[in-house]
Amino acid sequence: MTGRIHITNEQGDTTRTWDTADPGTIREIEEVFREAQRAGRLVYRQAENGKGEQVTLETWDPVEHTELTVTPRLVGG
């Protein structure tokens, strides 16, 4: 099975994928999580009620959570 992560950016977003059976591609996505964390960005998955649920590297399940979005860092305007 393939998972997808949308990383929002100035182009709209960039999509990265991983193979749930391939530890190599999963490691690449773990690095995306680390980068997001360093930049103060949050990662979400769509919960069953249609709302967002925050996912961290510690709570991420690559097999269960296969649709993720990295949102931009928000600051007070």
């Binding site: 100035e10 949050l42 928000l74």
Partner: protein, 130 residues
């Protein structure tokens, strides 16, 4: 003598016009490319936002350009382009934006998700101006 002057002046003016036209064409091409890139980015961001919205939010966004979010505490917020309004009696307005810049729809998605999952963090981050 005067004929040479006319020919020389004409040649100079034509050459200057050619250079100017080339510069102008380059600037227009560059601006067009930037606009096309931005438009493509906005469309992509809009598609991602729509994939996250509930059917009710989707119809609000399509019809009016904003949508309402109800937080786990029961508060209702209106996520508009460039601002968020708390839909209570005081109608407080908040300014919160993405850094670095991302298309408006990506910003609205980030605000929706933060409100739905961590209203306290939203309130601690946003600047209330009304």
């Amino acid at each position: 003598m005067s004929a040479w002057l006319v020919v020389g002046t004409t040649a100079f003016v034509v050459a200057a016009l050619v250079v100017l036209a080339r510069l102008l064409a380059g600037t227009v091409r560059c601006a067009h490319r930037t606009l096309t890139r931005r438009r493509r980015a906005e469309l992509r961001a809009k598609a991602l936002l729509l994939s996250w919205l509930s059917p009710g939010q989707r119809s609000q966004y399509r019809a009016r350009g904003w949508f309402d979010v109800i937080t786990p505490t029961g508060s209702r917020y209106r996520v508009c382009p460039r601002k968020v309004v708390r839909m209570d009696a005081r109608r407080s307005a908040y300014c919160i934006e993405a850094t670095p810049w991302v298309p408006e729809a990506d910003q609205m998605l980030a605000k929706k998700l933060l409100l739905e999952t961590d209203e306290r963090r939203f309130l601690a981050t946003a600047y209330r101006y009304r």
